[in-house]
Symmetry: C2
Subunit: 202 residues, 2 copies
């Protein structure tokens, strides 16, 4: 009689999945706190609390780990956006809310880790080939849900696409800037972005 399925007996697949998740979470955390250069395999295994063999078993090389981290990040970021979209129900300030949701995707540790990998991919071809399609997925997901975010009323207007792209670029730039000197009154920037959306969508 299997009263306690977990802890005593676990499927190999379950063990693998749990271990890989621990390792990838540790990798993302290390990327945020130590940067790409500081994210050594030893750093990751210590954070995850596992042995060297465990890490090398699941990810044969450091680059493999990073590539897997990229895909892990993609899933996490998309899940984050989806949860943000579903969580709140915008009634009145739809535009402000939408801009805030987008800004949220550039705020957390997920973007920081992605930025580190982004820069690192410049010199790691293997990482680059893994990164490009993943970033496209994230981008397409965000753009695909733009209509849901902003509502038909705004997203149908002529200049919407260009305005959205510019706000995304501006947010990326602001995020990159505030990676060091953290939050300098987001409210003004958000207001500017909302203003921009209003001004550029006829």
């Amino acid at each position: 009689m299997s009263v306690q399925p977990a802890r005593t007996t676990r499927t190999q697949g379950e063990r693998s999945a749990a271990m890989q998740r621990r390792l990838l979470d540790a990798t993302v955390a290390a990327l945020c706190e130590k940067g790409y250069g500081g994210t050594t395999t030893m750093e990751v295994q210590q954070r995850a609390g596992v042995s060297r063999g465990a890490l090398l078993h699941h990810f044969a090389s450091r680059t493999d780990l990073m590539v897997a981290a990229v895909e892990h990040l993609t899933r996490e970021r998309i899940a984050e956006v989806l949860s943000l979209v579903k969580s709140q129900a915008p009634r009145k300030g739809r535009l402000e809310w939408a801009v805030n949701v987008l800004w949220g995707t550039f705020q957390g540790p997920l973007f920081t880790a992605s930025l580190e990998l982004w820069l690192a991919a410049r010199n790691d071809h293997e990482l680059l080939t893994a990164l490009l399609p993943q970033e496209r997925i994230v981008g397409q997901t965000i753009r695909g849900m733009a209509a849901d975010l902003f509502g038909e009323e705004v997203s149908g207007k002529p200049g919407f696409s260009e305005a959205l792209e510019m706000v995304l670029d501006a947010q990326r730039g602001a995020a990159a800037r505030s990676v060091l000197r953290s939050t300098d009154t987001d409210d003004r920037m958000i207001a500017s972005w909302v203003h921009l959306m209003r001004a550029l969508t006829t």
Copy 2:
């Protein structure tokens, strides 16, 4: 009779200055092509074609070299902007020209190198304390010459300051994006930025 003052006899200061310039130029080039992690002291000395001792004499540690590179970059970037401003005389499309000049500051290798140092400073406190004031200098220089760039007619209008900040952020974001997949038709973005400036400055 000293027919050839150089080569045969050089002041110590001249030798030092020349050597440091070579080293710093090599450092910036390495940052662009190999990234921060790949900019090892050995890489730099090989690029500069100097011995290990020469590098270590002028820059006692790797961080010292990077800090000096930051200051070197600041000077170079400001000089770049100044030359751009002075070089061309805008007559008709003043706004387009100004936006283009700003965009130029995010294009070259100088911005790439700065971005690498920017990310690296997140984990190197010494580098961070050197970087922050330098970036402030660059920022203030750009903002200080905004009036000269855009002309009184535009820079005097109400929403100018916010619009400029947003364009700078957008350009920074676009630059960070195109660090990997290079230039994807700048013209459209530039047109968007000009449009933004027009729309947001009453």
